[in-house]
């Protein structure tokens, strides 16, 4: 029976890619392990290997096709002895994707290693959908003049644009980190920067987090403005001493003499199926420390405007990104110099019945929940905190004084979380306005499991947010 070859996923978060080249042509015989095609994403390229022997019967997706969804049939392989006639049924079923068996001999996608330390799971079906959030129109933000045109870009592109713009503006800004230059970024955030700025300003480091973080801090003390990319913030634990003891404290310890203008950025929190050591959210860790500024954006516009602000800031800034959000698209204002203020929350969706406070990827649950709640007659206000430290407590208090209720949403663990801090702040500053206890929807208090079902359980869900909002509004 003919075997379908499906569009493979290069990483757990990949949704679609470009079929850049067919290495084998129709009629070519194929041995197991032969490279039959090449595919490309915005992150990387990879070769598709055959796992079955036979003849390439039919190419279903011609080379050069963009935005081919993961798991779309791209070709059919005929087993020895089968003839072209057998194709008809196979092709017909290929055209009806819902009939595709879940695992009909998925070709051995050979993911290019993101890096030795970041083992990607084998290709998995990606469940999240790339989406544009209509509520996220940055026009709502006062920072953007009315009538400003926007462009739809991904968070990934927004971050790259922010760095490129600041590097053009200021010679003392440079980017360093593992695989930021020639590899174009483990997550392709620094794509194209080496070409434009050269190896002096886009510096590939050895895998040596403690060392290169200290080196970056030293360079910042000498007056440069480093952007230090951690391949993920999980690896920054190796560098914690330099971030806290050197970067955060030196300005104070020197009586204001020594400044340390440096940005530490990279993906933070859970990605998809990368298990406990690669899935931690560090927002509350860094937000504990005076001397640090902590930013955790959700949208592309906020990522761009706040990263530019972070690079210009004379202090050390922790900029927490999210691998899953990298591919999400949002409208970004087309302005020559779009910079957002650090420390300002925004109302992502106005409402009157309850306040949902979130930030970063937590916003995806918060906004979906608010949308569903609206259908049930509960009008929740969603606040995107954007900056964790300094926290815009005033914005939260103002909203809670209006709604009388608050639910927080984050993927991190509950104890000593950012949510806990918000709850404490509200107790101190809005106690008399609260009509219900503040509820926290967080990740579960367990190390992140690998199994797909357990991982899903460990993360917060839209359902949990909805339940929490109903609980504080006494609607359940």
């Amino acid at each position: 029976m003919p075997v379908q070859v499906l569009m493979p996923a290069l990483s757990p978060t990949m949704e679609e890619g470009t079929l850049s080249k067919w290495v084998k042509q129709e009629g070519d015989s194929i041995a197991s392990g032969d490279v039959i095609a090449e595919i490309e994403t915005d992150k990387a390229t990879m070769e598709v290997e055959a796992v079955d022997e036979g003849t390439l019967g039919k190419i279903l997706v011609p080379e050069g096709t963009e935005a081919v969804k993961v798991n779309t049939p791209i070709a059919v392989i005929l087993a020895d002895g089968e003839d072209v006639g057998a194709l008809d049924g196979a092709v017909a079923s290929a055209m009806a994707p819902e009939e595709v068996a879940p695992e009909p001999g998925v070709p051995a996608a050979k993911p290019e290693p993101e890096a030795e330390k970041k083992p990607e799971a084998s290709p998995a079906k990606s469940t999240e959908t790339k989406q544009i959030h209509p509520d996220e129109s940055p026009e709502a933000a006062p920072e953007v003049p009315e009538g400003t045109e926007t462009v739809e870009i991904t968070v990934r592109e927004a971050l790259r644009d922010a760095m490129a713009e600041e590097m053009r503006k200021d010679e003392s800004v440079f980017l360093m980190g593992e695989e930021v230059a020639e590899y174009q970024g483990a997550y392709k955030i620094s794509q194209g920067l080496l070409d434009e700025f050269g190896p002096r300003r886009v510096v590939d480091t050895p895998i040596t987090e403690h060392g290169f973080t200290g080196l970056g801090v030293g360079a910042a003390m000498a007056g440069l403005k480093p952007i230090v990319e951690f391949m993920t913030f999980n690896f920054a634990m190796q560098a914690m001493d330099q971030i806290i003891n050197s970067a955060a404290k030196t300005h104070y310890m020197s009586g204001g003499q020594v400044t340390c203008s440096i940005v530490f950025r990279g993906p933070n929190g859970a990605a998809s199926r990368v298990a406990a050591q690669h899935s931690q959210d560090y927002a509350s860790w860094y937000s504990h420390v005076p001397g640090l500024t902590v930013i955790q954006p959700h949208t592309a516009a906020d990522a761009k405007g706040l990263l530019k602000a972070a690079i210009r800031d004379p202090n050390p800034v922790i900029f927490l990104e999210n691998e899953i959000l990298y591919g999400h698209t949002f409208p970004v204002p087309m302005m020559d110099d779009f910079v957002l203020p650090i420390g300002k929350a925004k109302i992502a969706k106005p409402g009157k019945d309850a306040t949902i406070v979130s930030w970063g990827i937590g916003m995806t649950y918060a906004l979906k929940a608010a949308e569903e709640l609206k259908g049930e007659g509960i009008d929740a206000e969603v606040i995107d905190l954007r900056t964790i430290r300094p926290m815009d407590v005033d914005a939260i208090v103002k909203s809670v004084k209006k709604t009388g209720r608050c639910v927080t949403v984050e993927e991190a663990w509950p104890q000593s979380s950012v949510s806990s801090e918000i709850a404490a702040q509200l107790m101190e500053k809005a106690f008399d306005w609260l009509d219900a206890p503040v509820l926290r929807v967080t990740g579960k208090d367990v190390p992140m499991p690998y199994a797909a079902n357990l991982e899903k359980l460990a993360l917060p869900s839209v359902k949990e947010v909805i339940e929490a909002v109903k609980a504080v509004t006494y609607k359940d």
């Binding site: 440079f174 002096r200 480091t205 050895p206 040596t208 403690h210 060392g211 290169f212 973080t213 200290g214 080196l215 970056g216 801090v217 030293g218 360079a219 910042a220 003390m221 000498a222 007056g223 440069l224 001493d241 330099q242 003891n245 050197s246 030196t250 300005h251 104070y252 310890m253 020197s254 009586g255 204001g256 003499q257 020594v258 400044t259 005076p290 001397g291 500024t293 004379p314 202090n315």
Partner: protein, 362 residues
Amino acid sequence: MAARAKSGTRRASAAKSGSKPKSPAAAKSRAPAKKSSRGSPATDFSQDQELEAYREMLLIRRFEEKAGQMYGMGLIGGFCHLYIGQEAVVVGMQMVAKDGDQVITGYRDHGHMLACGMDPKGVMAELTGRRGGYSKGKGGSMHMFSVEKGFFGGHGIVGGQVSLGTGLAFANKYRGNDNISFTYFGDGASNQGQVYESFNMAKLWKLPVIYVIENNKYGMGTSISRSSATTDLSHRGASFDIPGEQVDGMDVRAVHAAGDKAAAWCREGNGPYILEMLTYRYRGHSMSDPAKYRSKEEVQKMRQEHDPIEQVKARLLEAHATDEDALKDIDRKVRSIVNEAAEFAQTDPEPDPSELWTDILR
């Protein structure tokens, strides 16, 4: 314990000092035979150089003695690590520094500050936690800085300054100047992982940094032979092809000669250089030191036979026929500077309470 390297042959003048303390050259050298890192020969100093070294080292010595005294009186709190005995290292190295070079070290840092030209009053007032201190009283003994003088601290976490100092060198290279980062650390810090991470990057990117390892033989109370698998620290850059040498860190001339060579190497764009300064601290690790890990005789022997200041003094009197009154005059001036600093540090007010909330962010 690491063997002292015989670092030069031109010590005749000091060795001939009769009843004066014996120079290390006169002491039996126990240099390992297989040493590949040869100490730079100590070239003779001019009288002016000797006088400069004498003045600088004496200032550190007297300052530290005063700090120890004030600590005992409860005027200085917390940790206080004295540099007494190691003065020749930073003074000799600073004699090869030029404008724009940076200095960074760990917590035994008062000597480095004075050698960088920082005001003793500001340093002492920081020790007493007063508003006129270099960090407005908010840093203390281990955390002082003077961007103006190129002194970047004063760091309290063992080894932390090594990556930072490498970053200072990175900035020099980035800017295309010929300045050097003088990055000091001790034998204790030489076992920290980030030291080797820094060595790797420094060599990889040819960063202008001199790693000055002040081997005073004890990391707190643990002798180097009890903490280190290999005790010739000048070889610690071997895996990265960083040249290194052992230097008689008690002889300011040997330090100067080695520093000169290393600085030229760095300024020419050859990347990092390691100088292992064989030195000794007379006092404890910090003020509360049980002193059980070494004998009184060992300390006494170092003081009597290798004291860096006495060596210079002997040469000044003998070889340079310096008038003894001239030296006494220097002593007097130094004491007066230190007394003034101590006076200031006790009368200057504590920081205003509002300072609690300043300098967190710029």
